[in-house]
């Protein structure tokens, strides 16, 4: 496994700058997730590392070697695409063994067997090695596709939304599995997704992309707790962070220049009060918790409460915020003197 460094890389398609001056280091053994909506440039960045695209400016270093001009085959990367493309005429075993049988690699059949069997166990497909690749469920096919990448030991694994075509339950399972496998192998991985849950739960570090620019890189906790701007703040959390104009609540300790305040659902505290400014308009059950949807002076708020608390539509409340985030007119996060427990 190796470190991959993207250094001031820019990629244009005609007039469109898909990737703008991005610098990002994927340290050896880490799983870095690129998160952003469609068109943010995350797949382009991945393809640049793979060598499927050539940058217009900047350098890509793999294992301390300048790989910018190298063709994909020389870069020592494995790519998993969103749509699994297995060889339909081959068995699961032969699909998994395929990358090792490339003439340039010259791996012995005995070694191939050992590695295929190990990977098949990892992705839990070992009971179907003899099956034809077409006689698998969607989830199984995607596990084979992931396994086919894992069977090699490249400098870096590149994954483009590998779980997005699966149903929710399988996605949740594979999320944990893939992270475990990555940690187990000590693999370096660059992983692209638009699913914030995948980013939060799997990443060692997350890179947030917005219109081709990398706006913040940090651990999931750093990004969640200390977003650099309102855009990043809105990327994580489900339901999203509550955003209110600064005068919507009596703000104590708001820094100069703050025009809006953000509070995550679990950081909005309600106190029942008949003359309170907020009114409960809907109670949404999760089972373990409830989301309360509130209206306050024309603004919408969502808070997280215990199901033991008897909130009903129509009840009124006073609202206070914990760990609020303040943003200036440009949407940038303003520093505050925090009085929070360590």
């Amino acid at each position: 496994m190796a470190e991959v460094v993207i250094d001031r890389v820019t990629k244009r398609f005609g007039d469109v700058e898909a990737v703008k001056d991005v610098s990002l280091t994927v340290p050896s053994g880490e799983l870095v997730v690129l998160l952003g909506p469609t068109g943010a440039g995350k797949t382009t960045l991945l393809r640049l590392v793979a060598g499927l695209e050539k940058p217009d400016a900047g350098i890509i270093t793999i294992d301390a070697r300048d790989a910018t001009a190298e063709p994909p085959a020389l870069r020592d990367v494995s790519f998993v695409f969103q749509q699994y493309s297995l060889y339909p005429h081959l068995t699961v075993y032969d699909n998994l063994a395929f990358p090792l049988r490339a003439p340039a690699r010259r791996v012995h059949e005995a070694e191939i067997r050992t590695r295929v069997e190990r990977v098949a166990q990892l992705v839990r497909i070992d009971h179907k090695l003899a099956n034809s690749a077409t006689r698998l469920s969607g989830g199984e096919m995607q596990r084979v596709a992931i396994g086919r990448a894992l069977v090699r030991r490249p400098a870096i694994y590149l994954m483009d939304e590998p779980l997005s075509s699966l149903d929710a339950k399988l996605r949740a399972e594979l999320r944990v599995e893939l992270k475990h496998i990555q940690a187990d192998l000590g693999a370096t991985m660059l992983y692209v997704t638009h699913d914030q849950t995948e980013a939060m739960t799997m990443a060692s570090r997350i890179g947030i992309l917005q219109e081709g620019q990398l706006v913040q890189v940090g651990t999931p906790q750093e990004i969640y707790e200390r977003p650099v701007n309102a855009y990043v703040a809105a990327r994580l959390g489900s339901p999203g962070i509550n955003m209110l104009p600064i005068d919507a609540l009596p703000a104590k300790g708001a820094p100069n220049g703050a025009v809006s305040v953000g509070a995550r659902t679990e950081h909005v505290e309600l106190t029942p009060a008949d003359d309170g400014p907020a009114e409960v308009i809907m109670v949404e059950h999760l089972g373990s918790e409830n989301f309360l949807h509130l209206r306050m002076n024309g603004h919408r708020l969502v808070t997280l409460t215990s199901p033991d608390r008897q909130w009903r539509p129509g009840r009124r409340a006073r609202v206070s915020l914990h760990q609020p985030l303040y943003f200036d007119a440009a949407g940038c996060t303003l520093a505050v003197e925090q009085h929070v427990n360590p």
Binding site: V176, A183, T201, M202, P220, R264, H285, G287, S288
Partner: protein
């Protein structure tokens, strides 16, 4: 507005029984969700209520009238399907107004009602647009509008949000429920997504293999699941099951699991030397150094303030929802402790929950 009553309604397709004798009543104005995996009979049930499918036996009453053998068109029911089939050559106004036009409602009244509905759905600004350029959400709003414009006795919705992406689906859930709270029309809603069901329903009927396992409010279903299927279908992540072999006597206040005594709500039923499963919700699992059940951390999923930690134990994987402030490293050995008063013991063969004092609260509460 109407009450819907199903009396021993059954549906067979050849040898296959899609829906087994179900009886339940959907109250006037209720938002009622039929929830279950694909093939559980939920859509067939909905189609029988709507009159698109005739039952093999049993009765169906709409507002007290026996409509078992009446056609869909005679039942006065509005529909919303997953694939919003809008008329592509018409604008939003004509799409919503179409059912009224078919009924021969005068033009001026159609206009008034379409505008009222558009306002209700907050799509007034789109009313003269062609439907071809609309976003998925707006298309679905138009489809909803076309259903509710008729002021039918009840509305049937078959996975209406299934085609939308996760975040947007959640937004539409909130909107749909808010709409329901404004018009209070009896609604039967089919979905396989427990999050949707929990978010919107007044009551949920959880179905499995053509049988209704449990009908109750979302919180009741979550806190006191009657079967392992219900417990394992609801919650994200769902309830954990620790499977073991045991002799459980009625009156027991604990179970013996691998030599460990686990306190449980007082049981009123027993299992003589059989397979049982201890059901515990992830938020009722605590990681400790000294807990009796031991395991190895397989993975930790950061979710913000909370995290979900997967622990592999001898009895299977257990997920714990705990504060993110507690570090959990892969391969770390940990002990587990459960919140005694929230545990459910299941007969693992029948899948049924053993009666315990946990379930008594239902009657009192």
């Amino acid at each position: 507005m109407a009450e819907i009553r199903l009396d021993n309604l059954q549906k067979r397709f050849g040898d296959f029984t899609a829906v087994r004798a179900s009886s339940f009543t959907i109250a006037d104005g209720e938002f009622f969700v039929l929830l279950g995996p694909s093939g559980c009979g939920k859509t067939t049930t909905l189609r029988m209520i709507a009159g698109l499918e005739l039952p093999s036996s049993g009765k169906m009453l709409l507002d007290g009238d026996d409509v078992t053998f009446k056609r869909a068109s005679q039942r006065d029911i509005g529909f919303v399907f997953q694939m919003f089939a809008l008329y592509p050559h018409m604008n939003v106004r004509s799409n919503i107004g179409f059912p009224l036009k078919c009924q021969g409602v005068p033009r001026r009244e159609i206009d008034a009602r379409v505008e009222e509905v558009a306002k209700l759905l907050r799509i007034e600004h789109l009313i003269d647009r062609p439907v071809s350029g609309l976003s998925g959400g707006d298309s679905q709003r138009v489809a909803l509008g076309r259903a509710i414009v008729r002021k039918a006795k009840a509305f049937m919705m078959d996975e209406p949000l299934g085609a939308l992406d996760a975040e947007f689906r959640h937004l539409m859930c909130v909107e749909l429920r808010a709409l329901h709270d404004r018009i209070h029309a009896t609604t039967v809603y089919v979905t396989h997504d427990q999050v949707e069901a929990m978010a919107m329903a007044d009551r949920i009927a959880v179905m499995n293999h053509g049988v209704v396992d449990q009908i109750a409010t979302p919180q009741e279903i979550y806190d006191r699941p009657r079967t392992m299927h219900v417990a394992g279908f609801i919650g994200s992540p769902p309830m954990n099951f620790l499977r073991f072999h045991a002799n459980v006597a009625p009156g027991a206040e604990s179970v013996r699991l691998n030599g460990e005594t686990i306190p449980v709500p007082t049981l009123h039923e027993g299992v003589a030397n059989g397979d049982v499963a201890l059901g515990v919700r992830p938020e009722h699992v605590e990681l400790t150094d000294d807990g009796g059940i031991r395991g190895e951390v397989f993975g930790a999923e950061y979710m913000g303030t909370m995290q979900v930690v997967t622990v592999h134990t001898k009895h299977g994987p257990v997920k714990a929802r705990i504060p993110s402030s507690r570090p959990a490293r892969i391969r770390e050995h940990v002990g587990l402790r459960f919140a005694k008063e929230r545990l459910v013991v299941f007969d693992a063969v029948s899948g049924r929950a053993l009666k315990s004092c946990l379930f008594e609260e239902t009657i009192r509460g």
